[in-house]
C-alpha cells in the first residue's frame, strides 16, 4: 500500500516537473518562432492593412509593451501620478503597435535566421540573428533583448539593428519632446495622441 502511494506520488511529481519543462521556452527558439510568424504575416498575399493587423497581434503576444513603455519614459516615470501612468500606458500601447507594425509592414517576405544567444543574467538573454541579404538590400544584423524573468513567457524588450537600439532611440526621442516643453509630460501625451490618430 505504501509502495503504491509512493509510486503515485512519484508519478505526479515527475509529471508536474515534465509539464513545467514543456512550457518553458528557450529565448532563441522563441525569437525564431516569432520571426517565422512575422514572416508569414508579411507574405505578399496579404494587403498592407492585413499585414499591419497581423503584426499588431503578434506584437501584443510577444513584446513586453508595458516594459518598453516604462523604459522609454526613463526617469520621468518616477515623477508622474498613477493616473498619468495609466494614461501613458494606454497611449504608449497604441503608439507602439502603430509604429512597430508600420515600420515592419514595408518589408516583404523577410528571412531571419537566429544564429546564437547569450544569457546576460536571469532576466535577460540577447539573441542574435541576421536578416538575410537580397539583391535589393544587404545582410542586416539584428539582436533581440529577451526578458526571461518568467521563462514560460519570454517577451521581447528591444530590437538592436546593426548595433542601434530601437528602445534607446525611442527613449531619447521621448525625452527630447518632454525637455522641449519644459518637462511637461502632457506635451508628450499630446504628441502621442497626434501620432496615433
Amino acid at each position: 500500500m505504501r509502495l503504491k502511494k509512493f509510486l503515485i506520488f512519484t508519478f505526479i511529481i515527475i509529471n508536474l516537473v515534465g509539464i513545467n519543462r514543456s512550457y518553458s521556452m528557450e529565448p532563441d527558439v522563441f525569437v525564431q518562432s516569432t520571426v517565422n510568424r512575422a514572416s508569414q504575416a508579411l507574405n505578399n498575399k496579404y494587403s498592407k492593412e492585413e499585414k499591419i493587423d497581423k503584426l499588431k497581434q503578434i506584437a501584443s503576444e510577444t513584446v513586453d509593451i508595458n516594459g518598453i513603455g516604462y523604459y522609454t519614459l526613463g526617469a520621468y516615470r518616477k515623477d508622474i501620478s498613477d493616473n498619468e501612468i495609466n494614461q501613458y500606458e494606454m497611449l504608449f500601447e497604441q503608439y507602439f503597435l502603430k509604429s512597430f507594425s508600420s515600420r515592419l509592414a514595408e518589408y516583404s517576405n523577410p528571412e531571419i535566421e537566429v544564429i546564437s544567444k547569450k544569457k546576460l543574467n536571469k532576466n535577460y538573454t540577447m539573441v542574435s540573428s541576421i536578416l538575410v541579404g537580397t539583391g535589393q538590400r544587404p545582410e542586416v544584423k539584428i539582436d533581440w533583448r529577451v526578458y526571461t524573468k518568467n521563462p514560460e513567457n519570454p517577451l521581447i524588450r528591444d530590437l538592436i539593428i546593426e548595433g542601434l537600439s530601437l528602445a534607446r532611440t525611442q527613449k531619447e526621442e521621448f525625452s527630447s519632446i518632454i525637455q522641449s516643453n519644459d518637462g511637461d509630460i502632457k506635451a508628450l501625451f499630446s504628441t502621442l495622441k497626434e501620432f496615433i490618430k
Binding site: D64, N66, G67, Y70, Y71, G74, S99, S102, R103, E106, K118, L120, N121, N123, Y124, M126, S128, G135, D143, R145, Y147, K149, N150, N153, L155, R157, D158, I160, G163, L164, S165, R168, T169, K171, E172, E173, F174, S175, S176, I177, S180, T191, L192, E194, F195
Partner: protein, 261 residues
C-alpha cells in the same frame, strides 16, 4: 598659412571638447554611455531643417535617380569608394594600434586597386579577406579617450560631434592620401575635381542605400531630429568600441529596474 589656421582651429576645438566632456576622469569603458550634450540644439535644429530642405531638393532626387542605375554599376561604385576610404582607414588602424588590421587593409587596397580595377571589383573579399570596416580620425580620437564634446549638425554634411568634426580636419592636414594627391599636391594625374566628385558620389551612394530606412524613420518619428541624433551617437559609440559583440556596447542598467512580470 591655411594649415596654421586649420591646426589652430583643431587645437581650439579639441581643447573645448576636453573641457566640455571631462569631469576629472576619462572613462575608456566600451559601455561608456555618458550623455553627449546637445549644447547648440537651437542652431542644430535650424541646420537640420535646412539640410532636410536641401536633401529634398537636391540629394534625394539624385539618390533616387542613382538607384535606377543597374545594380552592378552601383555595387562597383560603392566598392571603388570603399577602396578609396582605405587610405584613411589604414593610418587610423595604425594610430589605434591595430597593426594586423592595417596590414590586412593595405593588402586589400593593393589587391583591389590592381586586380580589382581601381577598386571596382572587391576581389579581396572573394579571395577570403575579412570584412572591411572603415575607420576615421574621429574614431581614433575616441579610442584614445577624447570625449565626444557637444553634438553638432553641420550644414550639408549632417550629424557630427566636436570631436568627429575636429577629426575630419585631419584629412585636410595630410591624413588622407587621396586628398593629398588630388588637392594638396599637383601630381598631374588627378585634379581637384576628382576629389570633390568622389566625395559627392560617396554622399549620394550613402543616401541611395538608405532611402527606404530614412523615409521609414521620418514617417514613424515624433521628433525626427532627436531620432537621428540618437542613432548617430549610438553608431559612433559602437564604431569607437570596435566590437562586434552587441553585449559590449549595450547599457543594461536602465533595464534592470523595469519589472513587469
Amino acid at each position: 598659412m591655411k594649415k596654421i589656421i586649420i591646426a589652430s582651429l583643431i587645437s581650439l576645438m579639441l581643447a573645448t571638447n576636453v573641457s566640455a566632456d571631462t569631469d576629472g576622469e576619462n572613462n575608456l569603458s566600451k559601455k561608456n554611455t555618458k550623455e553627449v550634450k546637445d549644447c547648440f540644439e537651437g542652431v542644430n535644429r535650424v541646420t537640420f531643417k535646412f539640410n532636410q530642405v536641401l536633401d529634398g531638393v537636391i540629394f534625394e532626387p539624385i539618390a533616387k535617380a542613382y538607384r535606377v542605375l543597374p545594380s552592378p554599376v552601383r555595387a562597383g561604385t560603392g566598392n571603388a569608394l570603399d577602396n578609396l576610404s582605405a587610405l584613411v582607414t589604414i593610418p587610423n588602424n595604425i594610430l589605434q594600434g591595430e597593426f594586423k588590421k592595417a596590414g590586412v587593409n593595405t593588402g586589400r587596397f593593393i589587391v583591389n586597386t590592381t586586380v580589382g580595377v581601381v577598386g571596382i571589383f572587391d576581389v579581396a573579399e572573394k579571395i577570403g579577406f575579412p570584412k572591411y570596416e572603415k575607420e576615421d580620425y574621429g574614431q581614433t580620437l575616441g579610442v584614445m579617450g577624447v570625449g565626444s564634446g557637444c553634438y553638432v549638425v553641420l550644414p550639408v554634411l549632417g550629424p557630427s560631434t566636436i570631436r568627429d568634426t575636429a577629426g575630419s580636419f585631419a584629412n585636410l592636414l595630410g591624413g588622407d592620401a587621396w586628398y593629398n594627391v588630388t588637392i594638396t599636391n599637383d601630381t598631374q594625374h588627378f585634379s581637384n575635381f576628382d576629389y570633390y566628385a568622389s566625395r559627392a558620389t560617396s554622399g549620394i551612394n550613402f543616401r541611395a542605400k538608405n532611402i527606404d530606412s530614412f523615409e521609414n524613420l521620418e514617417k514613424n518619428s515624433m521628433d525626427f531630429y532627436a531620432s537621428v541624433r540618437s542613432l548617430y551617437l549610438q553608431d559612433r559609440q559602437q564604431k569607437i568600441a570596435n566590437s562586434n559583440a552587441i553585449t559590449e556596447t549595450q547599457n543594461d542598467s536602465d533595464w534592470e529596474e523595469i519589472e513587469t512580470q
